[in-house]
């Protein structure tokens, strides 16, 4: 099958949607001739023109709010926030407006907005440009939160996100943009709220998402040589969480390793652990639940320091080995 990068897959999803639905439009900073900070939308201005590839001033609060307002009038905006770290300046619009408008107003309307946000570290961009901020949002009812790990998933999930009538936060890991994978040419959707077992295994369930999926998969490959078999569950959607798949996997393996790039304390890993320990899977656990995450420090700039703050394949392997002791 044809291969696309993760970035191209995202562009294709947006393009297909914008071709078939006049109400879909893209909004954000430098998404036009510049093609977006990571080049994802390069060429879209030429195809769709400046009204549908709507460039904004540096006003995240303003344009995310504008996206929400347009969604209330049944447009389907895709809003790009250049770095997920900047969602702090429009946090109110996401948390108190987009997430709550439907419920608060009695369910008579909806806010079909997709907010795309590059996240993650590894580029040496330091503390304010390297975060994995999903846990800022997972305690907010009303938001759908997606973090795809492959080009295939990115395209299918983004189309589903655009079709969905609810606000969706769509986290794209910067280091994945250049990653290649098979992507069908046609229009397809993937289910929201369904995890995907990226690799089956019998000894340890690894619950993970985003870029970490790939580190876990290579750790799994390596560990197999030592006779340790990982089952890699790619959550794909964090909210709503596919509890069933995690629980069933843990019932099978008896061990749980949680891997995410966000800082450990207060990260989404806690939710995954709690999901398992409040379910019947609790009784199947053979060992403590382990979390392999970023250290609890702002992401440092220097290559060496940054590398040591983030989860690595080696740390994942060590965690898995620890669980088997």
């Amino acid at each position: 099958m044809r291969e696309l990068t993760y970035g191209q897959a995202i562009k294709e999803a947006m393009t297909l949607e914008m071709r078939q639905d006049e109400d879909v439009f893209l909004m954000g900073e430098d998404i036009g001739v510049y093609g977006g900070c990571f080049g994802v939308s390069l060429g879209m201005l030429e195809e769709f023109g400046p009204e549908r590839v709507l460039e904004t001033p540096i006003s995240e609060l303003g344009f995310v709010g504008a996206g929400i307002g347009s969604a209330l009038l049944k447009m389907r905006p895709i809003v790009e926030i250049m770095f997920s770290d900047f969602s702090t300046v429009c946090y109110d619009q996401i948390v108190n407006q987009a997430a709550k408008i439907r419920y608060m107003f009695g369910g008579k309307n909806s806010v079909p907005i997709v907010i795309r946000m590059p996240d993650g570290a590894g580029t040496g961009a330091a503390a304010q440009h390297s975060q994995s901020p999903e846990a800022w949002y997972t305690n907010v009812p009303g938001l759908i939160i997606i973090a795809p790990s492959t080009p295939y998933d990115a395209k299918g999930l983004l189309i589903s996100a655009i079709r969905n009538d609810n606000p969706v936060l769509f986290f794209e890991h910067k280091l994945l943009y250049g990653m290649k994978g098979e992507v069908p040419e046609e229009y397809y959707t993937l289910p929201i709220g369904k995890a995907d077992i990226k690799r089956e295994g019998s000894d340890i369930t690894v619950a993970t998402y985003g870029r970490m999926v790939h580190l876990c998969l290579s750790a799994a490959e390596e560990l197999l040589e030592e006779g340790i078999s990982l089952e890699v569950v790619d959550l794909r959607t964090l909210s709503p969480l596919d509890k069933r798949t995690i629980i069933e996997s843990v019932k099978k393996t008896g061990r749980l390793l949680i891997v995410h790039e966000a800082h450990k304390t207060g990260g989404f890993g806690g939710e995954i652990a709690a999901t398992v320990t409040e379910s019947e899977a609790f009784y199947y656990l053979d060992s403590p639940i382990e979390r392999c995450c970023s250290m609890d420090v702002p992401i440092p700039c220097s290559l060496e320091l940054e590398k040591n703050v983030l989860p690595t394949k080696e740390r994942i392997i060590a965690s898995a080995r620890g669980l088997m002791k």
């Binding site: 303003g62 307002g69 107003f105 008579k108 589903s160 969905n164 009538d165 929201i192 369904k194 596919d242």
Partner: protein, 325 residues
């Protein structure tokens, strides 16, 4: 003649608001309503004059002090009263309450509990109108003097002007944001200056003069359709405290009384008499009609049931979120 009828209609509507607010105040004071509320007594002409100047196809985004705005818009007082009493028959099924009266489907975009947040959302609504080529439709966004100090104001003004949107910004200047008088909250209390950096026309008017408000907004409506946004500062006063539990320590009795002399309803009544559009008796009748309408609304609210508890969790999301695409 048509104008006479218009003034009569507006006069009636102001009474409907006044009676609504007085009744709410009664129940609140007795602790018989759960929640908080912001009464607009004294400011009725800003709501009615502004909103009567719109066409049926227009959209309105109200403030936290929004009962009057919703009633001016034509929102059903029964459902509003029921909402404030927390009943299932309320506009938002009791989920929103006083601060979240909304009827998005009917183009009333709602009140907002977060000051400033309505401005970018209104920009988005106006953007959608432009995108959908609704050529004779505008958005009216109301906000308070205090709220104009939020950053959202700046971003919304700039975007609205940049995109030349059909958007009327109405600043309901009641001289205070809670206890903070406008000359203590703004380095220059002339609100009309605030739109000038964006090339947005602005005007300051007597917000207690119902016809003046009506005419100004009517003209603004035509103006913004061709020229992009405009800012109208409507100067008025709130007679009551900011919300429940306000000892009014920041204002003098004299000041409050002097503004009570300028009561917009009384003024409109005097106008009607002067132009012989109504008799003293008519006026009394209009008032008591309004009172009766509100009595009915209260009855409706009191008799209505609370939402069935099993429906609490409805309305968080639209449609099925966990899709089997």
């Amino acid at each position: 003649m048509i104008e006479n009828e218009l003034i009569i209609e507006m006069y009636k509507r102001m009474w409907l608001i006044r009676k609504f607010e007085e009744k709410i105040n009664e129940y609140f004071s007795r602790g018989e309503i759960h929640g908080t509320c912001h009464l607009c007594i004294g400011e009725e002409a800003t709501a009615v004059g502004s909103i009567f100047a719109l066409k049926k196809s227009d959209y309105v985004h109200g403030t936290h002090r929004g009962h009057g705005q919703a009633i001016a818009f034509g929102t059903d007082v029964n459902s509003m009263m029921a909402e404030i009493f927390g009943k299932a028959t309320g506009l938002c099924k009791g989920k929103g309450g006083s601060m979240h009266i909304a009827d998005v489907e009917k183009r009333y975009l709602g009140s907002n509990g977060i000051l400033g947040a309505s401005m970018p959302i209104s920009v988005g609504a106006a953007l959608a109108l432009k995108k959908k080529k609704c050529e004779d439709t505008v958005v009216l966004c109301l906000f308070g003097d205090g709220s104009s100090n939020q950053g959202a104001f700046h971003e919304a003004m700039n975007l609205a002007a940049l995109w030349k949107l059909p958007l009327i910004f109405v600043c309901v200047n009641n001289l205070y944001g809670m206890s903070m008088s406008i000359d203590r909250s703004m380095s220059d209390p002339d609100l009309t200056k605030r739109s000038l950096p964006y090339g947005i026309r602005s005007i300051s008017i007597d917000g207690n003069d119902i016809m003046g408000v009506y005419e100004t907004v009517s003209e603004a409506r035509s103006y913004v359709l061709g020229n992009g946004p405009m800012l109208i500062v409507e100067n008025t006063y709130r007679h009551m405290g900011h919300a429940k539990m306000d000892a009014n320590r920041y204002r003098t009795k004299e000041e409050i009384n002097s503004w009570k002399q300028k009561d917009p309803i009384k003024r409109a009544g005097e106008l009607l008499l002067k132009i012989s559009a109504a008799s003293e008796q008519d006026l009394v009748q209009y008032e008591s009609d309004a009172a009766e309408r509100i009595e009915n609304a209260v009855r409706f609210a009191l008799e209505s049931p609370v939402l069935a508890i099993e429906k609490i969790a409805d309305d968080v999301f639209a449609g099925e979120v966990v899709s089997d695409a």
